[in-house]
């Protein structure tokens, strides 16, 4: 009944084990800058949270005053960003951890530590003594809900559905823009059922005393097995039908008129009253597990129905990463709601209390005003605790699990032009479900690793220790890839985007903020020299020829001299710019160099000439050789100096440069800079152009927008080309008109040049 009433079990004594040696700098990272602590002490696990500032290198570009070569200066500067650290470890390590923290805490101004969880009072004295901080207790349930709201809002793919027998057990849910209302069923030693209606409004609408404590306590009595994990192990191997009385034991078959099938449990433990022989531990544990899971599921359904709620999240130590209990709860919910309600689980469920307690203490910093992003480099990811599912896993004892979240500079929101934000899925291919594709891409990224390492070193030629860092990067990213091979669901759905983002996070982690900076600079320089020539030759073409050439230019990117005839044969791009001009076009750009300068800019020029306003959206931070907003600012100025059309566009505010809010080679239209969204709305944008493999193919290929859109890319990967039914260097040119709007052209991709 009481929510996370934690188990204070003999198996989780807090004997102080001094002999444990921690790999501290890998775990309590950035402790020297830490301020604001919170701690959530449960029955067996402690979750520590702190806020810290991280100093790391960022790449900056600065325009030179004089014209010439090179056109801008690149520098790597130290920048301070905010990061949230969450660490989970067994209670046995508390004292060692507190000692470590005390020894490494430099100049925190903090006087208090927020605490929650059933064990908070037990360790209060210890914490106060060790850290010299005053323990300030916070209500468990409030913390839990706060934490839940936070992860649901800030971590895409936080929630998932568990399907034991599917190709991928974890099916991640797209973040619904409106997370309320929902039901949280917290299964600690008892069960609490909480209805959450808004950030601050929640109510415990019910509960049950039959929970994790019942499984553990009763299970220990029946099987003489002491540990919760071992009980689950037993249960996963048992057969409940020998212990339970099934419908078929009573009816001989099914109870047809009620639709109750023969294998349903009519009476839990119903056979144990009459059996002559004893039962195996496994069978009893299994029967107990079914009994408790079904009971909780049934009550959850009754409450969900009464309050008319369809989103039901399950958490608490009974659930925490255990495939066995997630499966039985899922089964129960499915049975009792006839499939109408899905049981949802959370990747960071174990951290909710700590996150909530932390947020309570950080209210003056207004953490909810910012957007936060999971740092893949610093987070352990979802680990299944089932040994058969996770052969790679280290012994559970002594495992430290981490979650790091970066405060993003900008607040991220949906693109206002998404047709249905709640069903929008950025990624084209879910590698969690597609084993073949997963294998291909994981190998692909592994093979590319050497090149990335080389490039990283080359980007910092004057720094000797760059080689050492680059090796650390290699190790870390390789380890991530290995983890993902075993547990593709570790960070939500595995996608090409998540693989790319993880690589970027790892590069940043080891202070390689922009390995491509020099290459980009060189290519930009070079392409600028051809700009005027290119524009001139375009202007000499007939209108129709020019349209083809423009599209060709955009498509070509860095394969500039690519067969023109083929394009004109397979596409009729001219139609795009026929008819009345668009009010405003939003252009998500891709690469530096030829692509942006000789492909995109002439196209932009044409749009402006037609009277269409243009918003150029580029990355906020570097990713591969993609042009960043900083670089694009400089490039556009340079072009404006050469081109009166561009100059006028800038002057009259008809050409606007905005940041996307992203530092990824891919594009998530549900997490874009708030300013971008505002501009898009103000300018009544009626055309969206998305360019490049990362943005238009790996992501957004199936995205549906409420205005005309063009997704265009050249497939520079033969495997993918084949997958999509084309050939290498096939062209994707997907022009779509939303239903109800007059279509000018709807050609889909890929079209292969002959």
């Amino acid at each position: 009944m009481a929510e996370c009433g934690r188990a204070d079990s003999s198996s989780t004594t807090h004997t102080m084990d001094k002999s444990i040696t921690l790999p501290p700098d890998e775990i309590f990272r950035n402790l020297e800058n830490a301020k604001r602590f919170a701690i959530d002490i449960g029955g067996s696990l402690t979750k520590l949270a702190y806020y810290s500032t991280v100093q790391h290198k960022v790449a900056k570009v600065r325009s030179f005053d004089h014209l010439g070569d090179p056109l801008y200066e690149i520098s790597e500067q130290e920048e301070v960003t905010a990061r949230l650290h969450f660490i989970k470890f067994e209670n046995a390590y508390i004292e060692t951890c507190l000692d470590f923290i005390r020894d490494h805490l430099v100049n925190t101004g903090t006087k208090v530590i927020k605490a929650t969880g059933g064990g908070a009072h037990k360790f209060k004295e210890l914490i106060e003594r060790k850290l010299g901080l005053k323990v300030d207790k916070e209500d468990e349930m409030t913390c839990l809900i706060r934490g839940c709201n936070f992860v649901l809002r800030n971590i895409p793919h936080e929630a998932f559905v568990y399907a034991k027998h599917a190709d991928s057990e974890f099916r991640f849910q797209t973040t619904h823009p409106d997370i309320f209302p929902y039901l949280l069923v917290n299964i600690g030693s008892g069960v609490s059922i909480v209805k959450v209606e808004s950030e601050d409004k929640f109510e415990r609408i019910g509960g049950s005393s039959i929970g994790g404590g019942t499984f553990w306590g009763l299970g220990a009595l029946l099987t003489k097995t002491k540990r919760f994990d071992e009980l689950l192990q037993l249960a996963s191997k048992g057969q409940h039908a020998s212990v339970d009385m099934l419908v078929r034991d009573i009816y001989g078959g099914s109870y047809g008129s009620l639709g109750l099938t023969g294998d349903l449990i009519a009476s839990s433990f119903g056979k144990s009253a009459t059996a002559d022989k004893g039962f195996s531990k496994e069978d009893m544990a299994k029967s107990l597990l079914h009994m408790i899971s079904n009971d909780i599921g049934q009550l959850a359904c009754l409450y969900a129905k009464l309050h008319n709620l369809s989103r039901v999240y399950f958490g608490g130590f009974f659930i925490r990463g255990h495939p066995v209990t997630m499966h039985t709860i899922t089964y129960s919910i499915n049975f009792f709601t006839k499939g109408e309600v899905q049981a949802l689980f959370l990747r960071h469920e174990g951290y909710l209390g700590a996150i909530g307690a932390f947020l309570k203490g950080a209210e003056e910093d207004n953490p909810n005003q910012y957007s936060w992003g999971e740092n893949y480099a610093g987070s352990s990811g979802l680990m299944s605790v089932s040994p058969e599912m996770n052969p790679m896993q280290r012994a559970r004892s002594g495992t430290f699990d981490m979650l790091e979240m970066d405060r993003l500079e900008r607040q991220l929101v949906n693109l206002p032009l998404l047709q249905d934000p709640s069903s929008y899925i950025p990624d084209t291919m879910d590698l969690t479900e597609d084993a073949l594709a997963r294998e291909y891409w994981l190998s692909c990224f592994e093979e590319a690793l050497d090149g990335v390492v080389k490039r990283a070193v080359a980007s910092q030629p004057d720094i000797p220790e760059a080689i050492e860092r680059s090796e650390k990067f290699r190790q870390k990213y390789r380890h991530k890839l290995q983890t993902l091979r075993q547990q593709p669901f570790a960070y939500g759905s595995l996608t090409v985007r998540s693989l790319l983002d993880t690589r970027e996070h790892c590069l940043n982690e080891f202070n390689f903020p922009d390995p491509y900076s020099k290459i980009k600079q060189r290519e930009n320089d070079m392409a600028l020299r051809y700009y005027q020539k290119a524009v001139k030759s375009l202007e000499q073409l007939s209108w129709e020829q020019r349209q083809f050439a423009l599209v060709r230019g955009v498509l070509a990117g860095n394969v500039f001299d690519w067969g023109a005839k083929a394009v004109s044969d397979s596409l009729r791009p001219a139609l795009l710019l026929q008819g009345p001009p668009h009010k405003c076009a939003l252009f998500f750009v891709d690469n530096s160099g030829v692509d942006i300068i000789l492909g995109v800019m002439p196209f932009v020029r044409e749009l402006l000439s037609r009277g269409t306003e243009v918003v150029l959206a580029s990355n906020s931070g570097p990713a591969l050789n993609d042009v960043t907003n900083g670089e694009l600012q400089i490039l556009t100025e340079r072009i404006a100096a050469m081109d009166p059309v561009i100059q006028a566009g800038l002057r009259d505010d008809r050409l606007t440069l905005v940041q996307s809010g992203s530092s990824s080679p891919c594009l998530d239209l549900s997490r874009l800079d708030k300013v971008l969204a505002m501009v898009v709305r103000e300018r009544q944008t009626d055309l969206v152009i998305i360019e490049g493999m990362g943005r238009a193919l790996h992501t957004n290929y199936y995205a549906r927008l409420s205005c005309e859109s063009l997704k265009t890319a050249v497939i520079k990967n033969s495997w993918l080309a084949e997958r999509l039914g084309g050939k290498l260097f096939s062209v994707v040119f997907k022009y779509e008109v939303p239903p109800g709007k007059p279509s000018q052209e709807d050609s889909s991709a890929p079209s292969t040049p002959s």
Partner: protein, 437 residues
């Protein structure tokens, strides 16, 4: 019903004091048009099967004899049985006619006589069969016949012995229809045929249950009220059992606690639905008690439970919060985690078997209470009738249910109980024999 043990009185060849042979002193009333068979008949005073009893449903002596062939024809031949074969127990109701005339007596075949004598002269059958004498309904008029309705139970696993007896007593020669409900009617149908040469008339258990409840409630007027509740359920000192008149019973939540639990919303005799059910029922209580304490019977388990203390086993709200969890209105005495204290080794070693039995009882009972309460809210029904053999001699659970309904609903819900707890399915089956629907 196993035949291997001691029997008081023994079989039909045993000497019997003759009571049951004595023809009823009352005039035969088998020619009346009994309401239970012909409910439209105006002179039938007896209760309509399953309907409301306007008055005493027992023998009506005043009705004129109007023996007609048609009535005789519609009335099935004796013996009249109704049977409910559940997961744990077989419930049998037997109507013993007390108005047998001398002429009839002479005509009565030996086999029938022997069955009648056997059932009515004993209160225990074999080692496990029991007749609940305190429940029997005397002077009951059924289909124009007056007699006593007997209530008998035995474990389902002794069904083979019962069938053996039926065979040895040549039950099949009586050409009676055996109306049976419960899952066992399906499961053992072929056993009835092959072992005892008996053809079962199978009936739906929920139809029978509802029919039986409504009928029994309508015919009982003497003695303790069939339906009752607990007054002041939240105050142990003032908690007393009170009769309840089940007038205008609809809508009604009917919770049948047998081995498992079925919850029905009843809107009229013929309009009901099964809302849900739970596998945590009487079978779970007994099964877990057997495993935890080594006991082997329901009575033993209850006896132990009555001496135990569940708070040593369960973790209460106050064990976690030191008192009430005020923010959520949870009183300190509420159970936070059933068996929650058993997570600790020391506490596992300090509890008694009686404590474990008590905790099992409390856990199962409270859980049924919670699910019932949620169903009542979802179905918008305020009256709950609990039936089923889990409640037999189980005042502990009844009071707990009464308490839980009242406390958590803040007095909105009323828990009602019936004297004939587990026999309604069997009664419904008997009614089907007499008055096919």
């Amino acid at each position: 019903m196993a035949h291997n043990g001691h029997q008081r009185g023994g079989d039909d060849d045993d000497a019997i004091d003759g009571d049951d042979e004595t023809p009823t002193k009352q005039p035969r009333s088998d020619d009346e048009l009994p309401a239970s068979c012909r409910r439209s008949e105006p002179d039938g005073e007896a209760a309509a099967a399953g309907g409301r009893a306007p008055s005493d449903g027992r023998t009506s002596n005043s009705t004129a004899r109007r023996r007609s062939d048609s009535v005789k024809k519609t009335r099935p031949p004796f013996p009249w049985f109704g049977m409910d074969i559940g997961g744990t127990l077989v419930k049998l109701v037997y109507f013993e006619p007390k108005d047998i005339t001398a002429e009839e007596e002479q005509e009565e075949v030996e086999n029938l006589k022997s069955i009648r004598r056997y059932l009515t002269s004993n209160t225990a059958y074999g080692t496990t069969g029991i007749r609940d004498v305190h429940l029997e309904l005397q002077d009951l008029t059924l289909c124009g016949r007056t007699g006593t309705l007997h209530f008998i139970r035995f474990p389902t696993h002794d069904l083979p012995a019962f069938l053996q007896m039926g065979r040895s007593k040549h039950f099949s020669s009586l050409h009676t229809t055996l109306c049976a409900t419960g899952g066992g009617a399906y499961k053992f149908e072929s056993d009835f045929r092959t072992m005892a040469d008996l053809q079962l008339h199978k009936l739906d258990e929920l139809d029978c249950l509802i029919r039986g409840v409504l009928y029994i409630d309508s015919v009982v007027s003497r003695g303790p009220s069939e339906c009752y509740y607990f007054e002041n359920p939240t105050d142990p000192d003032r908690c007393v059992q009170r009769p309840y008149t089940l007038e205008n019973p609809y809508p009604l939540l009917l919770v049948n606690i047998g081995s498992g639990v079925s919850i029905l919303a009843v809107y009229s005799e013929n309009n009901y639905k099964r809302v849900t059910g739970t596998s945590l029922g009487g079978g779970t209580f007994l099964g877990l008690c057997c495993l935890l304490t080594g006991c082997s019977t329901f009575e033993e388990a209850l006896e132990m439970a009555s001496q135990g203390e569940s708070t040593r086993v369960d973790k209460l709200v106050r064990d976690i919060y030191g008192g009430d969890y005020e923010r959520f209105g949870l009183p300190g005495w509420a159970v936070a985690s059933s068996f929650g204290n058993m997570m600790s080794k020391e506490k596992r070693e300090s509890v008694s078997k009686a404590d474990l039995a008590r905790a099992t009882l409390v856990t199962i009972t409270n859980n049924i209470g919670s699910i019932t309460r949620m169903c009542a809210l979802n179905e918008n029904i305020e009256r709950v009738v609990f039936v089923g053999n889990f409640l037999r001699v189980n005042t502990l659970s009844m009071k707990l249910l009464a308490y839980a309904m009242d406390y958590w609903s803040k007095g909105q819900l009323k828990a009602l109980f019936l004297q004939h707890e587990g026999y309604f399915g069997a009664v419904g089956a008997l009614l089907e024999l007499l008055h096919p629907s």
